[in-house]
Symmetry: C3
Subunit: 138 residues, 3 copies
């Protein structure tokens, strides 16, 4: 059995937004018990990341680390026409995930207790992002 839906996520600019419940809803509609759920973001300046869902400071600290490791406006970059945050967004996209596959058990995402799935917007301006979710199983 295969079930596929597209999820649309408006973002307010750089940072993370939890999409666990939205993807869980798609898994429920798929109506299967055991399998895998793939989420794929259709953009090269936004990512998916599975990270801690308890203390939001974890996601702020991840942003601080990325902002230091891949600084906006770095003079290393030549692809600058779309702004100082554009090329850093592509590097972040290469370092984090475009595609995440999560197991499905008993008809639900088999995430750990402290795991959430987040869309990570890397651009500073608001964007409309699209995620394709594909559930495979029986």
């Amino acid at each position: 059995m295969i079930h596929q839906e597209e999820l649309r996520v408006p973002t307010p600019g750089r940072g993370t937004q939890e999409v666990t419940a939205d993807v869980e809803g798609i898994v429920a509609r798929a109506g299967l018990q055991t399998g895998t759920c793939n989420a794929f973001v259709l953009h090269t300046s936004a990512s998916l990341v599975v990270t801690e869902n308890a203390d939001p400071t974890v996601r702020k600290d991840l942003e601080s680390w990325l902002a230091r490791a891949v600084p906006d406006g770095d003079r290393l970059f030549r692809h600058t026409a779309e702004g100082p945050d554009d090329m850093p967004a592509h590097v972040r996209s290469a370092l984090l995930e475009t595609s995440v596959t999560i197991p499905v058990t008993d008809g639900r995402l088999a995430l750990g207790t402290w795991q959430g799935l987040y869309l990570y917007e890397h651009r500073t301006a608001p964007h409309g992002r699209r995620i394709v979710v594909t559930v495979v199983g029986a």
Copy 2:
């Protein structure tokens, strides 16, 4: 055909432990010839990584690089209540993999000659880690 099992891996603290043979055993029990095998670690301070299985110095050097790039006790971090290695573990988890999908060919993991699958414990203390393995195919 779908087959799913959970693998439990006790870790002695930070570093890598090969789980290739354990996952290969699950693929064998799945009893299918061609497909994919997804491994998903249920934690946000441990990772999966496919890396060289010949010279263990490769994994030590990877640890050296990560320890320098994401130093324990970095004053950048605010999420420090669980210790100086906690937030670095979450950053490492975002940089490496939570989920790895490996092809299955002729009833076995289709890994390259020098590839092994490793659980990477990022915390300095011993932990009990869980990996969900899902095999899909025919």
Copy 3:
């Protein structure tokens, strides 16, 4: 339905080569409408990456960032027998992707407008690289 093929990609040395059309060809031969397509590179010193396909400067800038973050000949590394670019190749391989799963919609890869799939050769010398492509769906 399952369809699996191996793709062989000769590389001229370090840098990216687009493999989107090759993988798309395999998806077409799979003859299914909806599902997922997994690409898995059988090496620990080459990666897969989904990144922008419009301006090649994006991939040059990504290379510049990686060359600075994981410098060849870094004295941090002990695994140096195979040359100054060998251990950096393994670190890059851990940071980027060994395995990428892309949705299939209407019999084609469901990539975003600006997304391409690239093989990233991390060694400076030419290599013959192998990618296993597995398409699952209905």
